[in-house]
Symmetry: C2
Subunit: 152 residues, 2 copies
DNA sequence: TATTGTTATACTCTATAACTATA
DNA sequence: TATAGTTATAGAGTATAACAATA
């Protein structure tokens, strides 16, 4: 007698699966990014900057759904490697504006193909149509939890 | 000029979304489970045991897709709270067999409704049909990465 | 030799509290 | 008074390396 009881199957609940699959995906990303000496958080910053251009740290933290405090050491490391720059804001002297350097931009571009292949490996169990379906659903869910691209 | 360039939108890639949404889901679970003094890992163990019954630690680690070494302290805590028991295997003296206690089983049952509500809150952006679609896709993906229910 | 469980250790991610300098 | 960035710190998740007991 193993493998069934009279309770709902939370092990198959969407929330449970999202958390576990997120963990597995993060592991996969970590292994892949480690080859380029990047953490998941660092890569998230690079990708977000590549898409959104110049932003303040607060806005950047929102964009990648991490806490602004935890963003500080991540940016420190990226600045050390000259992949991003922190510069003072033109008018608001509280702010420090973050941008990709030439080198950072090049790295994101170079990783693009390999990252796509890595993703394909992880999704190998799903045929193309289902992958697109999954992607659309995840985009909608993500948009509901992360503030969209706004002004400034 | 912000919000577009000529590169593929990795920020919207499935792997990226899975990792970020997994993180957000884990945060949501952590906040919810914290009210019951449970970590995500502890809850994963309880749920897995509730479904699969008596298993060894190696098999248990596989079932919830965590490393067997990291399972040790998690089980220690659960044993301290008398939610699970570790007992010697009947014939193989290397093994220690893990089971839910009466108290652990009761707790999982008590959390069932609240956990379902928590999940609904997180998925509020998707209508029912899409939620089921998402759940099916995630189940298939999860099954491809985690060994299914086997003998013993 | 291989397997089960374990310890020690380190890095990443996340969260709470409190501080500074500006607005 | 509120906001942008920061520091210190702690807990949880994951990973590598190495070990004892048993098969």
């Amino acid at each position: 007698m193993s493998g069934s009881n009279d309770r709902p199957a939370f092990e198959r609940g969407t929330g449970f699966l999202l958390a576990r699959l997120g963990s597995l995906t993060a592991r996969s990303w970590t292994a892949f990014l480690g080859e380029h000496r990047l953490s998941q958080g660092q890569y998230a910053v690079l990708v977000a900057l590549d898409r959104h251009g110049v932003v303040g740290q607060r806005r950047l933290a929102e964009l990648i759904a991490v806490d602004a405090r935890n963003l500080v050491p991540v940016l420190d490391q990226l600045v050390d490697r000259r992949l991003v720059e922190r510069r003072p804001h033109d008018t608001d002297r509280r702010r420090r504006v973050v941008t990709l350097t030439e080198e950072g931009s090049t790295l994101v571009g170079a990783l693009a193909v390999a990252a796509a292949e890595e993703q394909d490996r992880f999704l190998h169990a799903l045929p193309e149509a289902e992958r697109e379906q999954l992607n659309r659903l995840l985009q909608r869910l993500y948009a509901a939890h992360v503030p969209a691209d706004g002004p400034e």
